[in-house]
Amino acid sequence: MKNFMMIFIGADYQELGLSPEELQNRMGKWFAWGQKMESQGILKGGEALVPNVKRVIGQKRTVSDGPFADSKEIIGGYYTVTAENADAVVEIAQDYPDYDLGGTVEIREIMVFDQ
């Protein structure tokens, strides 16, 4: 088994101005997805990220405050999961609730270093 990170990009609820009802429906879907992964023992952890961005760039270490690009490119959070291979994670990611809001899931394998 390997560890993977599912990175959630775009679909910023705040930006989209979702109504209380819509927010609640979204939350229900996330909750159901989380429960499903948990019961299968594949969910290792994860966090949501505050959308404010600060970047330190280049030789001069220039500090700039977001927002930078389109909010479509902002990372909203991540989950780490354990799975056989990347294809299995693609399968898991089918249940990500926010594709209809233009959201993206990027799947990356977590590198393991030999002793």
């Binding site: 609820y13 109504s19 927010l23 609640q24 939350m27 229900g28 909750f31 959070g77």
Partner: protein
């Protein structure tokens, strides 16, 4: 797995409660900040509750929203006087004791209803503001319910809030001298909200049941307080209950409209009918007679009939005539035409249709053309009936209504073909 079901509509219902209770403590002038804070709280909840829904979701929401309001008020205060140190407790105008009590929340929501109906807000702003602030609908949902553009609703909401600030409205009940007029307006808003849900000019029917439920909830809230009780308020409540009892039977499993003629009367929800009856009895104990009394009487008459054929149309016509005397409207005339068609008083029906002010029907103009079609169909003049149905189809914005009218048209066309065939065979 079903846990998110337990909190069905929690966010929307709680939106109104939180905005009301926080407004009571922080003041109506901060309503915009309060709304932002409540919205932020839901955002936070959607992230945090992904893993685990708290033991007491309502208490969690209220306490986070309160803290968020204080934060936002402080930071705007700090922005206003950068040079000064801001005292930490400036935000809390009134000492706040938690948990908030139910009667306190209800009282705050009632105050909010009266703010929504304040005469410094224009009628269209009043209903938008009420649906947003009390019922927690988004601009998009309100726009869908009222068949308006989303940015029109956003503008109305902005204007309403500006009017509140400009006129320094207080978060309070109106003085005794204005009470009567304001209660009348509150009832109108409730009635309009219900009608939007019940007749649903909305293209989709998502918000429809919600609007009816919201209207009933607000009416109940008013009835809890003795000072608001009146014959017309009880009659309004009865009317809403009577109509709502049929809500389920108005559409079938395929989400198609079912004519009252064909509705399964066994599915009419009896507890609501009973509640309506008891409210109607209470309404009768007062001297006043309102339009709501007559409308409730008409709705009750439909519910009394065991089958469509047993409907007492004479009685219904009588109620409509009284209603028209008390409060003339194009809708009454249209309904009187429909009832006269049932009674086969064709010429009376035609005369009513010919003279009623069609433009007053606004979005429901299609009903008028549908009624004309019915008139010609009943007189077996199918060639004239079909173009009226076509007109009705063109004028409706509701997909369900359109499907229903199209089916009617196909039925008429088949009848027409049948009659032609029999003539020539």
């Amino acid at each position: 797995m079903m846990e998110h079901k337990i909190v069905d509509h929690l966010f929307r219902h709680h939106y109104g409660k939180m905005v009301a209770i926080l407004t009571r403590y922080f003041g109506l002038s901060h309503i915009e900040t309060i709304e932002d804070a409540v919205q932020d709280t839901f955002l936070k909840a959607t992230l945090l509750w992904r893993k685990q829904i708290p033991e007491n979701p309502e208490a969690w929401l209220t306490s986070v929203a309160k803290n968020r309001t204080i934060d936002l008020l402080r930071s705007s205060k700090a922005a206003n006087n950068r040079s000064q140190k801001v005292a930490l407790n400036t935000a809390a105008v009134v000492p706040m004791v938690e948990p908030f009590l139910d009667h306190e929340i209800e009282d705050s929501q009632l105050r909010m209803i009266f703010v929504a109906c304040h005469p410094s807000l224009k009628p269209k702003e009043q209903i938008a503001f009420a649906l947003r602030t009390i019922s927690g609908f988004s601009s998009k949902e309100i726009a869908a319910a009222l068949l308006t553009k989303e940015n029109t609703i956003a503008k109305r909401l902005t204007r309403a809030k500006k009017a509140i600030i400009a006129n320094k409205l207080q978060f309070d009940f109106p003085p005794a001298s204005e009470m009567q007029a304001r209660v009348v307006r509150v009832m109108e808003i409730i009635y309009l909200t219900f009608n939007e849900g019940f007749h649903s000019t909305n293209t989709e029917n998502v918000v429809r049941g919600d609007l009816c439920g919201e209207a009933i909830r607000l009416c109940k809230l008013l009835l809890k307080k003795e000072k608001f009780r009146s014959g017309s308020l009880y009659a309004l409540f009865a009317l809403l209950c009577f109509h709502a009892s049929r809500l389920e039977s108005k559409t079938n499993a395929q989400n198609e409209i079912v004519d009252i003629r064909d509705q399964d009367r066994s599915t009419w929800y009896f507890p609501l009918i009973e509640m309506g009856n008891s409210a109607m009895n209470k309404a009768m104990a007062y001297d006043e007679v309102s339009a709501y009394h007559y409308e409730a009487a008409i709705a009750a008459e439909h519910l009394k009939a065991k089958t469509f054929a047993e409907t007492d149309w004479e009685r219904i016509l009588d109620w409509y005539t009284k209603l028209q005397e008390l409060q003339p409207s194009a809708f009454n005339l249209l309904h009187m035409a429909i009832v006269n068609l049932q009674l086969r008083n064709f010429e009376v029906a035609k005369q009513l249709l010919d003279t009623l002010p069609v433009s007053d029907l606004e979005q429901r103009e299609y009903l008028y053309y549908g009624c004309y079609a019915e008139y010609y169909a009943k007189k077996n003049d199918l060639i004239l009936a079909i173009p009226y149905l076509e007109k009705a189809i063109l004028r409706t914005s509701n997909n369900q209504e359109r499907r229903y009218l199209k089916q009617k048209k196909i039925a008429l066309e088949n009848r027409l073909k049948g009659s032609k065939n029999s003539k020539f065979s």
